[in-house]
């Protein structure tokens, strides 16, 4: 049986939190990448976002996003995906996924992603996004950072998977 969905690495944030989650030396032999994340930051708000950076590059990211807050829908140009902030109900974490096709290619890098934030209230946030990194370099490292907080809280996790078109 051919396999197409392979686990590469998992990062679990330990006591004290972490300012970033890093996937380094990413193998270049997959077709696409997927990251699943369960994150909460130390931002003093119910909501934060996770920014996803490639090759330590912090520029040339743009996006279009569909946003919900439990009461209405809207659209913006955010380049982050929604996660929980530290004012959300205790022990709750955001849940999200990003899909990065053709990450080892030599074209600009598009990705799709969605993130949801939960708390025990009617106001909570989610977004569904398309992002572009206007850089043609192959992606060999990925860094996740909170957009507004300074740390990911303990028990936050992120897992990187590789998708193969064939074996």
């Amino acid at each position: 049986m051919a396999y197409t969905y392979s686990k590469i690495a998992t990062v679990t944030v330990g006591s004290g939190g972490s300012s970033s989650i890093d996937f380094l030396a990413i193998p270049q032999n997959y077709t696409d990448l997927v990251i699943k994340f369960s994150l909460r930051s130390n931002r003093a708000s119910v909501v934060d976002s996770v920014l996803i950076r490639y090759n330590y590059n912090t520029s040339s990211y743009t996006g279009r996003s569909l946003v919900g807050n439990g009461a209405s829908g809207s659209s913006d140009t955010a380049t982050g995906l929604v996660i929980n902030g530290d004012s959300a109900t205790a022990s709750t974490f955001g849940n999200g996924e990003v899909y990065i096709p053709n990450y080892a290619g030599n074209t600009y890098k598009s990705r799709s992603g969605d993130g949801v934030q939960e708390t025990n209230a009617t106001t909570a946030y989610m977004n569904f996004s398309a992002h572009l990194w206007s850089n043609s370099s192959p992606i060999n490292s990925i860094t996740l950072v909170p957009e507004n907080g300074t740390l990911f809280n303990q028990h936050s996790t992120a897992t990187l998977y590789g998708i193969k078109a064939e074996v």
């Binding site: 051919a2 686990k7 998992t10 439990g70 829908g73 708390t119 989610m126 028990h155």
Partner: protein, 195 residues
């Protein structure tokens, strides 16, 4: 002696043992296809040794509507321990809705109803991350919808189960009526890295 890659073995057709094959990280756990008319679908005795779970399904209800909500409860918990939120579009505009302290999660109108085009089923994918992590309440994320050849909905939904317990049972139900036959639900385990 040089090792022989699994890829080579597979292409040569000379696999020697089940252990020769890495099935990858996404493992089918159970598939349920409704027969007759099913009030709900249960996945029970879910193994706890995966990192994440994913449900993929198509579903249609007997309720007299074009679409109906997908509901869920966990581990037989019928207390007011659930919240849910979704954003949805109907081809013309986007809206959102929410609920808290409910006795179930509601992912939105992901199930085709009896008034939908014949043979038409709604579709959804639900991700449950860190479902066996006892330090976390469980956040569910679902993407799905129904298209009825002229009308329909698409939605991104989330659900919160306020419990740190390991998820070992998932019940899916419709917001009205029963699941029709051929509604099909598959549960997958997503392996931990290094597992």
């Amino acid at each position: 002696m040089a090792s022989i890659s699994l890829k080579y073995k597979s292409k040569q057709g000379n696999l020697t043992a089940p252990g020769d094959v890495d099935p990858g990280a996404m493992i089918p756990i159970a598939t349920v296809t409704a027969s007759g008319s099913a009030t709900y679908i249960d996945f029970t005795s879910i193994p706890s040794n995966y990192e994440h779970l994913q449900i993929r399904a198509i579903a249609r209800s007997t309720v007299a509507a074009t679409e109906v909500g997908l509901l869920s409860s966990i581990n037989g918990d019928n207390g007011s321990n659930y919240s849910w939120h979704h954003i949805y579009g109907n081809g013309a505009s986007a809206s959102a809705s929410a609920g808290s302290t409910y006795t179930y999660m509601n992912y939105g109108a992901n199930i085709a109803g009896a008034n939908a085009t014949a043979n038409n089923y709604g579709i959804f994918i639900i991700d449950i991350l860190d479902y066996s992590n006892t330090s976390k309440y469980k956040t569910f994320r679902g993407l799905g919808g129904t298209d009825n050849n002229g009308s329909g909905w698409v939605q991104l939904g989330s659900g919160l189960w306020q419990s740190t317990s390991v998820v070992n049972q998932i019940r899916l139900a419709t917001g009205g009526g029963n699941f029709t036959s051929s509604s099909s639900f598959a549960l997958y385990g997503i392996k931990k890295a290094g597992a």
